[in-house]
Symmetry: C2
Subunit: 311 residues, 2 copies
């Protein structure tokens, strides 16, 4: 399918329900709301279906009209597999008319599919669709599209970023998006619980192999005591590897049931996947994981010993 064909399908239909994936992130919410705004702008009925919009993404709903209609045409955005439809989207399984996504592995059952794995964010595709529909990139649409583009690329830092990503960002800035406010909220704001968690994690940090390795531990006790949510804990695996000189950063997360999940991140030459295979795990060269029985303290000792030998 081409963008033109996608736009033709959208023009030919009405009463859209736009699906976003479970545990919604900036990209799926940005896609859903931008497409909804564009469809309403060209005179269609449309609504976004989502699990719940986290408070920090509430601004994406700005400008969307609440319309009364019976859904007729189902579009999924940034959803890679039927299993990611979540509880709220389950009833649409097998009934999706158009799937728009950027995941190479996309396996959604849909009548029509536009999947472009070269897009860093699915919002890049929606940007083309909005333009193809002849809708104006309003400030509200620009805010939605910028949010998805920035969050899926770590604010243009990750290797998935392309020249096209930057050119789209340029257009969105010219359309008046509040990139400074969005970036502040997305990247430069930490909850008090997150701050407390990082503080506690730093207490557990241990270097080994002369500083080439670093490990942090998230204990069950810590999670309960600090009232940590899954949002607060997101991305902590990046902390040990980000330290200068560290080639292997390990995060030990204690789980209910007497075991720990281990995340291994490496820089340079070390194969995280081969290391995790020693414990029956696996993954990619620079990011892999495994599980080990025992409490936090015991597992930390085991993993440090193995990592020292590996390095």
């Amino acid at each position: 399918m081409t963008i033109t064909e996608v736009c033709n399908l959208l023009r030919a239909n009405d009463n859209f329900e736009i699906l976003t994936h479970a545990s919604p992130d900036g990209d799926t919410l940005g896609c859903g709301h931008a497409l909804c705004l564009a469809l309403q702008q060209i005179g269609k009925n449309a609504r976004v279906i989502c699990e719940s919009v986290p408070e920090k993404f509430a601004y994406l709903k700005k400008g969307i009209k609440q319309q009364e209609f019976i859904g007729e045409y189902i579009v999924s955005t940034d959803i890679a597999a039927d299993s990611l439809l979540g509880e709220h989207g389950k009833k649409y399984e097998g009934k999706i008319d158009l799937c728009i996504d950027h995941h190479k592995s996309n396996s959604v059952s849909a009548k029509n599919k536009y999947v472009d794995p070269d897009s860093a964010a699915a919002c890049e595709i929606i940007y083309e669709v909005v333009k193809g529909l002849g809708a104006e990139i309003s400030t509200d649409i620009a805010n939605c599209l910028y949010t998805g583009t920035a969050t899926d690329t770590g604010c243009f830092k990750f290797s998935n970023t392309t020249a096209k990503t930057h050119r789209i960002a340029a257009d969105l800035i010219e359309a008046g998006c509040d990139f400074n406010g969005i970036n502040k909220a997305m990247f430069d704001t930490k909850t008090k619980a997150r701050m407390a968690l990082e503080h506690a994690l730093y207490d557990t940090m241990e270097y080994f192999s002369g500083g080439k390795g670093a490990v942090i531990c998230v204990s069950l006790e810590m999670m309960k005591k600090l009232n940590i949510t899954s949002d607060d804990i997101e991305g902590v695996e990046a902390i040990p590897r980000a330290i200068e000189g560290v080639e292997m950063g390990i995060t030990v997360k204690e789980k209910e049931g007497g075991f720990c999940k281990i995340s291994v991140r490496t820089n340079g030459e070390l194969d995280a996947s081969r290391f995790c295979a020693e414990f029956g795990g696996g993954g990619h060269f620079a990011a892999a994981g495994c599980s080990i029985d025992g409490d936090c303290q015991k597992v930390k000792k085991t993993i440090i010993k193995a990592a020292e030998e590996f390095i």
Copy 2:
């Protein structure tokens, strides 16, 4: 002056010495090395004059030929005032032939000046100059220009970022710059000393006014014990304000001589400058500072009390 006139001057001269500012950052070093590479590419002699290139910027020197010549034409890049020439550049004071900069306040004494305050980074100007000279944006030049552009905009997060900044970044990515590696080194790497400092700072963190205020303290003892350099401490003022719900973030830095420097950063409605004026200080609406006599503990109490009343 126009970019064309800048290029004409560069074409008409030879044996360039390109100055960078004291305590060099990514923008001045990116400018200096990119311009040097471009001038050498079009057959000129050129060298970069700088205090010292910090280890993390060593890659910027790649591709530069060491040439023997007597300096004839002096260009300053990203230098806002003669005082910023530093020890290494002092002898060039009053002898600068061409000053290229983006600081509105530029006061450098120079025969010719091209100052564009609308450029987020001085590297944006050098990008135009390199193109104007007819030089190819080689991978090495692209790495230099990307470094300056990314570091001066906080990786496209800060409000100084423009559509043009993104379009230049797009061109630099197409020219093959290693944006992922550069961003990792610039934004996602912390020294072990910095980690230890953040840990110690979290120990000192105190909330007040029901979480609308947060304060951290850098004591002299902490600095000595952890062997903290000025590089390690850079940007810690951003920590308290980055906490969700905090409207006033305060950093107390103990100094030799029995006093503390206070940095105040605010979100929203609070005027940091008016608050600091209470202690004889000043600054901007969202970022201001002052000094208060006393040790860290005493000053922390004083400032919290004043801030509670202010909020």
